[in-house]
């Protein structure tokens, strides 16, 4: 079967898988950004309880495998009374995993904001919350965007694992096609190319564009 015939027959299935992958990516990215901000700020907190929670979260999720976390959240968490359906368990696991790496990026970027900015905000007697929101975070955001670009590609790759708990994403559909047709090169090859296009021609340019927009808004372009 030529590649063209293959795409004609299985194109719709691959397209529906790609759609699920994109939805999983967006939801997981939202979870990752929120959790990374919370943990990154939490690790700088003066309250030892909050700091401890942030450190434990970061170390546990960075120290174990995404696949193990995914299985744990999907198969073990229900025993504690928290049942997530496979779709939710998928993007929550990927988001929590990537968020632990993102937390370090957030923390690093906040620390990299020049000391004079902190002192100036202090001199203007801004409250700590206001100082963070109005002065520090906007500048940290510009610093953290490039590493987030790389992390989002890791996140996209991570979403391929949700197929293993039967979320019908691109990876899942590809395996189904492979199992029913044995056209492995066409099926897996097409999926590899789709992931590559998503990463290289959608995520990367969007992040570059965001970097430019943010830099301009801070008057640095």
């Amino acid at each position: 079967m030529s590649l063209w015939e293959f795409l004609e027959t299985y194109g719709p299935l691959i397209a529906s898988g790609t759609y699920v992958t994109i939805v999983q990516f967006l939801l997981a990215a939202a979870v990752a950004v929120v959790v990374a901000l919370a943990a990154g700020l939490g690790k700088r907190s003066r309250n030892p309880l909050i700091r401890g929670l942030a450190v434990v979260y970061i170390e546990v999720f960075r120290g174990t495998s995404l696949l193990v976390q995914l299985f744990w959240i999907f198969y073990v968490l229900p025993l504690f009374g928290i049942s997530l359906d496979k779709f939710t368990a998928g993007f929550v696991s990927v988001g929590l995993n990537v968020g632990s790496y993102g937390a370090e990026i957030v923390r690093g970027a906040i620390q990299a904001v020049p000391k004079g900015q902190w002192e100036a905000a202090y001199a203007l007697s801004m409250s700590p919350a206001k100082r963070m929101r109005r002065i520090i975070l906007p500048q940290a955001l510009v610093l953290m965007l490039p590493p987030w670009g790389n992390l989002l590609i890791e996140l996209l790759k991570g979403t391929a694992l949700v197929a293993l708990i039967s979320v019908t994403d691109l990876m899942f559909q590809t395996r189904q096609i492979n199992a029913s047709t044995f056209l492995s090169a066409q099926a897996f090859g097409t999926a590899l190319i789709v992931y590559y296009i998503l990463a290289r021609f959608i995520i990367t340019p969007v992040m570059r564009w965001l970097e430019r927009v943010m830099a301009r808004r801070l008057g640095r372009a």
């Binding site: 170390e59 120290g63 696949l67 193990v68 299985f71 744990w72 025993l79 391929a160 897996f188 590899l192």
Partner: protein
């Protein structure tokens, strides 16, 4: 009371999981050995005077880095037989994971080589050193210390990615935990233990990498 932790069951399955931990470490070590060598090939291939080779290798590295490892594992495992090449799960897994991480390591090496000051190259040129001597005696020794942190991180990274090999049936930790879980209809202990074993290895390993880096830096007087 399905969520009650069963210590007897834990002790019963622990030996099996520890054997599987050995397999996981073996897989990580083998994959890493492939990646260290192949990564250097990728990095050096991007520094040759032949433009075409440089561009092609660059694209291959980008492609490998932006596509999921699980998919690459499936690809290597299933596409071979279609063309008459049968690979065992272990071989296919090692090729896939080694290739994946060699793309990452080539970037680490590239950064290291680029961090060597230009004057060093010029000095080698002035001393009439061969290209081989320039790399082996001058550039690589200086490119190594800044690469150690990255290399160490990817060593821990490859270890954490080995569970993906379970999808093609390599009997590593997660595969064994799956088997134990479905034999006994208990997933709490096996999956939790796998998580604990991963933490118990990767946290000290990450600390050790940091210590090792500091030591190399001190030894080289940096």
């Amino acid at each position: 009371m399905r969520f009650e932790w069963d210590w007897d069951f834990t002790l019963e399955i622990l030996p099996r999981l520890l054997v599987a931990t050995g397999n996981t470490l073996l897989a990580a070590g083998t994959g890493y050995a492939i990646a260290v060598v192949l990564g250097l090939v990728f990095a050096l291939a991007q520094r040759t005077p032949w433009r075409v080779l440089t561009v092609v290798v660059r694209e291959i590295v980008e492609f490998i880095r932006s596509t999921p490892l699980v998919l690459q594992i499936f690809f290597v495992f299933y596409v071979g037989p279609q063309f008459g090449i049968r690979l065992s799960p272990w071989t296919a897994g090692m090729i896939a994971i080694g290739l994946h991480y060699s793309a990452y390591l080539s970037e680490v090496y590239r950064g290291g080589i680029e961090s060597v000051p230009k004057g060093q190259w010029e000095a080698c040129r002035a001393l009439n050193m061969s290209t081989r001597d320039t790399y082996v005696r001058i550039v690589i020794p200086q490119a190594l210390p800044p690469s150690i942190a990255g290399m160490g991180n990817y060593l821990v990274g490859i270890f954490k990615d080995t569970p993906m090999l379970s999808v093609i049936g390599v009997a590593e930790l997660l595969h064994t935990a799956n088997a134990i879980g479905s034999e006994n209809y208990r997933f709490l202990e096996p999956y939790t233990l796998v998580g604990v074993i991963f933490l118990a290895i990767s946290l000290p390993a990450a600390g050790f990498v940091r210590l090792f880096e500091a030591r190399v830096r001190r030894k080289l007087g940096l």
